[in-house]
Amino acid sequence: MDELQQYLIECKKKKGFLFVPYHAFGDPDPETSMKVVRTLFNAGADSIEIGLPFSDPVADGPVLQRTFRRILQHEFSMQNFIDFLSKIKEEFPDKKILVMGYINLFLQFGIEKLFEKFYKNNVRGVIIPDVPMEEKSYIIEQYNLHKFENKISWIDFITPTTQPHRLVKIAQNARGFIYMVSYKGVTGRNSFDLKPISKLFKQIRKYTGVPILVGFGVKTSANVKMALEYADGFIIASRLHELIEQNLNDRQKIPGLIEQELKLLLA
């Protein structure tokens, strides 16, 4: 079993579900960003998806588009990102981290070298929304990434459009967890209903024991309740960056507001 799956299963044993928020690195500034990470862990996050900004985030809705634009007003450097991960490791040595970002940034840095640095800094999974299963195996082959198989889990998505034969293949090969996309579309929409895709969860369970985390559109405590009816845990992203965006002029307040929001959400 890969390290990430092991870690998540242990986390789930402790409190019954998995809570994995997303936070885009550097929003709204490096210092506040670190405070947000702290807040998320203190509020019970089992892991955090640390997001890499990108100029052309085709899988993201308006909130995260604006988030990345905000972050990219300052030049992005992967080294700063790695330093950020190492600070998180120092402060939360027991927490395993996830990195989410578009593939180009991985390729430009050198994906093998990057995985090594990630692993050293407690990263145990990567989520790359513009790489489907076929390209993933090609990249693993091409860049010699087999050695990370159990160390850094490359997470797969299953979506409402995934056909049955693909679902089986993805589930059978899944590592870490499966990212279940709740609807057809980009991140951040205000509609969340898992009933139409309830069958997919049953299908996935038939073929894999990895946890299923639901993402896209989780914003309210009602959404959370519904997510936990079907899945092992949930991911929340746009709502948290909306809060940051609304308080850019009073950044001190951001961690506290996020803390409050999470209390409501998890209540």
Binding site: L72, E75, I103, N104, L105, P132, F157, T161, G185
Partner: protein, 404 residues
């Protein structure tokens, strides 16, 4: 990598399918349909009828005598500008709209830069009774305002993309986002040989008619093959269409003209093949203008259709194998060529096509310096310049040119 190892959807190491899992079923469905219909004689007949009766094919191969005399070369223009809607884009749109019908998708979407692809999509949609939505960058809506109105007149819904400075690349992003939620009932008519597989192959297939006709026409008219063919490269669809007719003729130089903008510093141009490096943008692995970390650059061209930080993956492959060459043409050279063809030949070209003209002119003068007498060349005149008239006037008057 040897030829037999090249995977479907790849040109050498370029291409692929870098999109969200959400879109994979639609891309697979489209790939299957493309394989089936590109071999289906009824489909081909229907498509060819549309090209002939609606679009106006075959287009002329015109011996431009005044320019030939002026440059001291034999210059032939492939007149895609004479097609219905004013550019080569209609070849692809009629084909893909027909595919959308076969796939039973009642709605089509498109991105557009200069607006020519948007207009061609809106036109095909009107003809085939499809609902149509076109994404266009806000800066492009300003500088190609005429096309914004044409699309609306044709019944399309036009949506501005990006911020104030939004261009073609923002329009592609928005179209991809639309598609990820509308994929059940919508076909995305990608406007160039870019994006995830099968689009680079499919769009090339629909434009291959440009190269096929050109080869036949030039041989009929002159009894030989040209020394070189020229086309502008934004995403690279008119170039791929033209080049495909001559790829196996090693005596014919293939030359693509990219936008050199106002200079070769970051942000001043969109010469992707000259200044970019391999990466992933909008669904495929190809050359990309980007910074060291992989963040995609903001780019510039006088010509909205070339103002794009990526390029079709097959062009990346042709660059790498050396089969084609790519040059950067500055805004000013393009504008000068725009004016030269208008005055000298009585043909007002699109600013995009003006880049191909300028590249051809430079090449001819270089060849003559090398002692070559009267080279014979074919230039893809991908579109007409009406859409650019207002912007060109503004820029030329800024340069001090007075029109009485």
């Amino acid at each position: 990598m040897n030829q037999s190892e090249i995977r479907e959807g790849y040109f050498g190491r370029y291409g692929g399918r870098f999109v969200s899992e959400l879109l994979i079923p639609a891309l697979e469905e489209l790939t299957t349909a493309f394989k089936k219909y590109s071999r289906d004689s009824a489909f081909k007949k229907e498509y060819n009828n549309l090209l002939r009766e609606f679009a106006g094919r075959p287009t002329l191969m015109y011996h431009a005598r005044n320019i030939s005399e002026k440059w001291g070369a034999d210059v032939y223009l492939k007149r895609e500008d004479l097609l219905h809607t004013g550019s080569h884009k209609i070849n692809n749109c009629l084909g893909q709209a027909l595919l959308a019908k076969k796939l039973k998708k009642p709605r089509v979407i498109a991105e557009t830069g200069a607006g020519q692809h948007g207009v061609a999509t809106a036109t095909a949609a009107a003809l085939m009774k499809l609902e149509c939505c076109v994404y266009m960058g806000n800066e492009d809506l300003r500088r190609q305002a005429l096309n914004g109105f044409r699309m609306r007149l044709l019944g399309a819904f036009v949506v501005g993309a990006g911020d104030q400075m939004g261009t073609l690349r923002d329009a592609v992003n928005e179209a991809l986002r639309d598609w990820s939620s509308s994929v059940d009932h919508t076909h995305y008519i990608v406007g160039s040989v870019i994006g995830p597989h099968p689009f680079p192959s499919l769009v090339k297939w629909f434009h291959a008619v440009i190269g096929r006709e050109s080869k036949k026409q030039i041989i009929r008219m002159t009894g030989k093959l040209p020394d070189a063919v020229f086309a502008c490269v934004g995403g690279g669809s008119n170039a791929m269409g033209m080049f495909s007719g001559f790829l196996t003729e090693s005596g014919v130089d293939l030359i693509g003209a990219e936008a050199g903008g106002t200079g070769m510093k970051k942000g001043e141009h969109s010469s992707t093949l000259k200044m970019g490096k391999p990466g992933v943008l909008q669904g495929c692995y190809t050359y990309v203008l980007q910074n060291k970390a992989g963040i995609v650059d903001n780019v510039h061209s006088i010509s909205a259709g070339l103002d794009y930080p990526g390029v079709g993956p097959e062009h990346a492959h042709l660059l790498e194998t050396g089969r084609a060459k790519y040059v950067a043409i500055s805004d000013d050279s393009a504008l000068a060529a725009f004016q030269e063809l208008s005055e000298t030949e009585g043909i007002i070209p699109a600013l995009e096509s003006s880049h191909a003209l300028a590249a051809a002119r430079n090449w001819v003068f270089d060849q003559k310096k090398l002692g070559r007498k009267k080279p014979m060349i074919v230039i893809s005149l991908s579109g007409r310049g009406d859409k650019d008239a207002a912007e060109a006037q503004r820029l030329m008057e800024k340069q001090g040119r007075v029109f009485q």
